[in-house]
Amino acid sequence: MSEAGWMKVNVEKCMHCGACAGSCPQNAIFLHEVILTFSTACNRCGRCVKICPVGAVTMGAKK
């Protein structure tokens, strides 16, 4: 698991498809070819968790 702001990405599962990035209503996710980063605009709405085809994105503990 790699920590990305509030959200956690399981890099073993992630297929770097961008489904989460395009679905984010805050435009807070950026896909750098194969690496996802979440900006501080993320408000933990959880849409990326839902739309990820393989369940690679999960909610981390609130900091």
Partner: protein
């Protein structure tokens, strides 16, 4: 290295390349950037397109990027009723299955030959603005930050569609207007090699499952599930694995490639332009909400984008007022059908498996000569009058 361009296109998919090509043909200095290291890879597509779609966008079929030519399409209901649409019935709607890694490179080559410059592994990370107008981009190229100025920036950045949102255009899509997709390239299949197959119903809630042949016993086997029907993380992969296991024609095969993606099945964006900014393709949400196909609409829209940008270059004006003719031209060509199909999708996703069975069973006994929503409803009217009335009221 040059730092000022007439037009910068962000994203080298089919819509980006077609825009770059048509704008460069009119003499504009065009830069097209692609954040990945290879155009056309990695795959995020089922690769089906109709011949008519290619023709409308002025792209002559080239055997180098056609993987398989189809004889028709097959719709399969939840309990196995089949309706075949062959060439004589579906006409130009019958298509080909592409080799996207070649197709995308071929279109990028057209842009290059028209004079566009291409930079790979180069991502836009934000827009440069002056007095509310977009005047360029900042980004990263092979790890080095850069700033580039341009008369107009084109967001051809696909489903991720970040350029538009940086520019204040609303490209957000509701959960009920997006599908989460998973696809395997599989070999050793016992499916038909020259029919694209669409499986409807609860096998893929709110979406459909597909088999798009890639030659011999190989095919793209995938499915899309509507975002609002997803309950648990990673469900799409679970649904597709379950479906493949349940169908002996598929379970005998082995995977060669796995692909994830999301596809918008929404109405188009309300606004695709602002001062110095224009959106095209998936970024403008022009994917067909019924089929999930986006290449043909994106390419057609991009022809209009490129041509209007060429005119803007010649007039030296990339203001929102000057880009308005792009907005008018693509909406005249696409918008009605996108809205009609979106409304039809909104209805279709509510239908239970039994109704879908009845629809396909009825249609399979009719002789439909031209595939259209109108003709399909006419064929269903006698046996399913209530359902047809609901559709007609809506559309």
């Amino acid at each position: 290295m040059k730092t000022d361009y007439d037009i910068i296109v962000v994203g080298a998919g089919p819509a980006g390349s077609m825009t770059a090509c048509h704008a460069a043909q009119k003499g504009a200095h065009v830069l097209m950037i692609e954040k990945r290291q290879e155009i056309g890879a990695s795959l995020r597509c089922a690769e089906g397109i109709s011949r008519k779609g290619l023709e409308k966008a002025g792209i002559p079929i080239d055997k180098r990027w056609v993987c398989a030519e189809m004889k028709g399409a097959k719709l399969v209901s939840p309990h196995g009723y089949e309706m075949k649409l062959d060439e004589s019935h579906a006409g130009g709607e019958v298509g080909v299955v592409l080799e996207r890694h070649r197709f995308d490179k071929a279109l990028a080559s057209l842009a290059a030959h028209a004079g566009a410059e291409i930079r790979l592994k180069t991502a836009a990370t934000g827009l440069l603005k002056e007095e509310g107008k977009v005047v360029g981009i900042h980004g990263m190229s092979f790890g080095e930050p850069f700033k580039l100025t341009a008369g107009c920036v084109v967001g051809a950045d696909g489903y991720e569609s970040q350029v538009g949102r940086w520019g204040g255009l609303d490209t957000n899509v509701k959960l009920s207007d997006m599908t989460s997709c998973f696809q395997y390239r599989m070999t050793g299949l016992r499916t038909e090699p020259d029919f694209c197959e669409f499986v409807l119903g609860s096998v893929a809630p709110g979406g459909y499952a597909w088999v798009f042949p890639k030659g011999d016993d190989t095919a793209n086997v995938g499915m899309g599930v509507l975002g609002s029907r997803l309950k648990h993380p990673g469900e799409v992969k679970m649904y597709i694995d379950k479906w493949i296991k349940s169908d002996p024609r598929l379970s005998c095969g082995q995977p060669l490639e796995a692909v994830g993606a999301a596809v918008s099945v929404s109405p188009p964006v309300e606004k695709a332009i602002s001062d110095g900014l224009l959106l095209v393709g998936d970024a403008a949400r022009v994917i067909d909400p019924i089929t999930g196909g986006g290449i043909a609409n994106g390419c057609l829209q991009a022809v209009h984008a490129g041509q209007v940008l060429g005119d803007c270059f010649q007039a030296g004006d990339y203001s929102e007022a000057a880009l308005q003719s792009y907005e008018k031209r693509w909406r005249d060509a696409l918008e009605n059908k996108l809205w009609t199909n979106w409304m039809a999708k909104e209805k279709l996703v509510t239908l239970p498996d039994e109704t879908l069975d009845a629809i396909i069973q009825t249609l399979s006994q009719c002789n439909i000569t031209q595939m259209s929503v109108h003709n399909l409803l006419a064929a269903l009217k006698e046996k399913l009058p209530d359902l047809v009335q609901e559709f007609e009221e809506m559309i």
